[in-house]
Amino acid sequence: MSQGITLAPSRQLKKRYRAEKRFKAYCIAALLLALAFLVVFFSDMIRQGYSAFVQTEIKVDVTYNEDTVKFTNESVTEDVSPLISRAFYRTIPRQVEANPDLMNTTQTRWLTATAHVDQYRKGYSDRLDPELKATLDRLESEGRVSYGFNSGLFFSGDSKIPSNAGLWSAFVGSFYVMIVVLVVSFPIGVATAIYLEEFAPDNRFTQGIEININNLAAVPSILFGLLGLAIFINFFGVPRSSALAGGLTLSLMTLPVIIISTRAALKAVPQNIRQGAQAVGASRWQAIRDHVLPLSLPGILTGTIIGIAQAIGETAPLLLIGMIAYIPDAPTSMTEAATVLPAQIYTWSGMPEGAYVSLTAAGILVLLTLLITLNATAVILRNRFERRW
């Protein structure tokens, strides 16, 4: 047999290698394509959105007296007055009320410019009155115009004045919704999963439940909105547009996610841990509580966080229960009308003023950051505490 054996690759083997290379190339191409989409998406969002994080500010002298409290736009000189956002003038009576010492004084302030000025300076639009342009150029040459961090984006509610519009009420709404989802779906989901995985007999009935839970995870989310409208609002009378109604509706969506991931986490705990506990005289529940649950907790939390992140990013079901309203002031309770981050983005995307385009993109960036943080937490939790047998 020593004759005729060559260790160089045969023709057939070469063909196999070529096929392997081709396959690898397809996979890499797919990966690159996906990455390219991601890069295009992010760079577009950042390009459109970054400018909303800063805002044009103008340094002006503000005069407080009897007249300017009544005719607030007279508090600054007539030529500069149209450059300043209306949102500021509105606050003058309140400022004086809060601090009576301001009366009959003149203060130098950096004030937010109107969206028109802002858009013009950022180069998005040229539709600024020539007179105003001249004033702006003059102010600019005097060093009285600059960009400041747009804190209003985070700390004020929605507004019809684009330079004053922010995400605060949506933040609060999303936070309430998240609390409701957590409080409702976590205990119910985990308890359901424990029953199905650890106690339920394996029969037609439980199999049916299992199939239905898996199907629920695939139901289009807008149907959950209809269900929420019919059950929570029309039947139980939960206030329309409220964080409570939204949270309950999103809980329906999150439940299957939590149930499925909890079951997977419980299944991953080896049988011999349960047997070991029961062999030393632990009851079934003691074995689960003391050994199985602590081991599966990272998996359960990961699933919960992912489920909640999904709920936070969901819009469709909320449209049906009215959480798409214009909410300038943050809700102070679960039953007040509220909006959430994705709904706020949706609202902004439909606004006619150009300034809302940047705001929409900025809102998307904020939402994405929030979701990526949540998902990263889930991944870190999983990697940190996951145990392998």
Binding site: N272, I273, G276, Q278, A279, V280, G281, S283, D290, L295
Partner: protein, 277 residues
């Protein structure tokens, strides 16, 4: 013979005469009568009867699938955990049928401990591994008593010297042999009178195996031990009595010396000489 109460009242069960028992003058710890087990449609045990001698090591040997593990797991009703299992017959322990309706399995298992094939310490500290069962069973309440019990159990399992300085380390950080001895310590911490061992050495290296075997030999003074093993030499080394299982029946059951040197049955001889199985 001490009588332990598994049910809360002292119901005495009539002794059932059994067929297979070594002809010796020793107390019988457990008496199994006509035990039949089905997994779904498949019958795993066909009416097995045998007695377990007190304070002795009884080895169960036989080819894979012969029912020896099934038999062992019937002795503390671990088989109850398997769905679709049906069990008929009687297992008498302390004059009570452990399959009687009034017997509580959780109570039963605190009297009949078990050590598994693969070491399965709880993913907790060494200390908590031992302390867990006495705590949930309410046997020990004071901290100092618990510390004494942990030390005592680890000493009985021959592990104390190796771990006394790191009781708070996770049990899973120990080597395989140490883990198995930890599991034995855990099992004896609740002071059972019977220890069931399901191939306790099959996942261990020869050195760890030797340590565990020596431990088994020491433990038989205080405990009645039933051990399933695939290793015939091990049965010969540690067991006073050996039962040979085949196809869900006991073929032969006698003291280990006679079984290995003068087997009565042809099948036994074939198996121990390696001609089949």
């Amino acid at each position: 013979m001490r009588t332990r109460d598994l049910t809360g009242d002292n119901t005495q069960v009539v002794n059932v005469p059994t067929t297979e028992r070594p002809r010796v003058n020793q107390n019988m710890k457990m008496k199994v009568h006509d035990l039949e087990v089905w997994y779904g449609e498949k019958q795993a045990l066909h009416g097995v009867s045998m007695d377990v001698v007190e304070n002795e090591v009884t080895a169960l040997i036989g080819p894979s699938g012969c029912g020896k593990s099934t038999f062992l797991r019937c002795l503390n009703r671990m088989n109850d955990l398997i769905p679709d299992v049906r069990i008929k017959g009687e297992v008498e322990f302390e004059n009570q049928n452990i399959y009687a309706p009034e017997v509580d399995v959780v109570e039963l298992r605190s009297h009949i401990g078990m050590v598994f094939q693969k070491p399965n310490p709880f993913p907790k500290s060494i200390y908590d591994n031992i302390a867990y069962a006495p705590k949930i069973l309410g046997q020990v309440r004071k901290r100092t008593d618990m510390e004494d019990l942990v030390e005592h159990s680890l000493k009985r399992a021959g592990l104390w010297e190796e771990v006394k300085d790191r009781l708070q380390m996770p049990g899973l950080s120990l080597s395989g042999g140490q883990q198995q001895r930890l599991c034995i310590a855990r099992a004896i911490a609740v002071s059972p009178s019977v220890l069931l061992m399901d191939e306790p050495c099959s996942a261990l290296d020869p050195v760890a195996t030797a340590t565990v075997e020596q431990l088994i030999d020491e433990l038989k003074e205080n405990y009645t031990i039933v051990i399933v093993t695939h290793n015939l030499q091990q049965a010969a080394r540690v067991a006073g009595y050996t039962a040979f299982f085949h196809l869900g029946n006991i073929v032969e059951y006698s003291d280990t010396d006679s079984l290995f040197t003068h087997p009565r049955e042809k099948k036994t001889e074939d198996y121990i000489t390696g001609r089949y199985g």
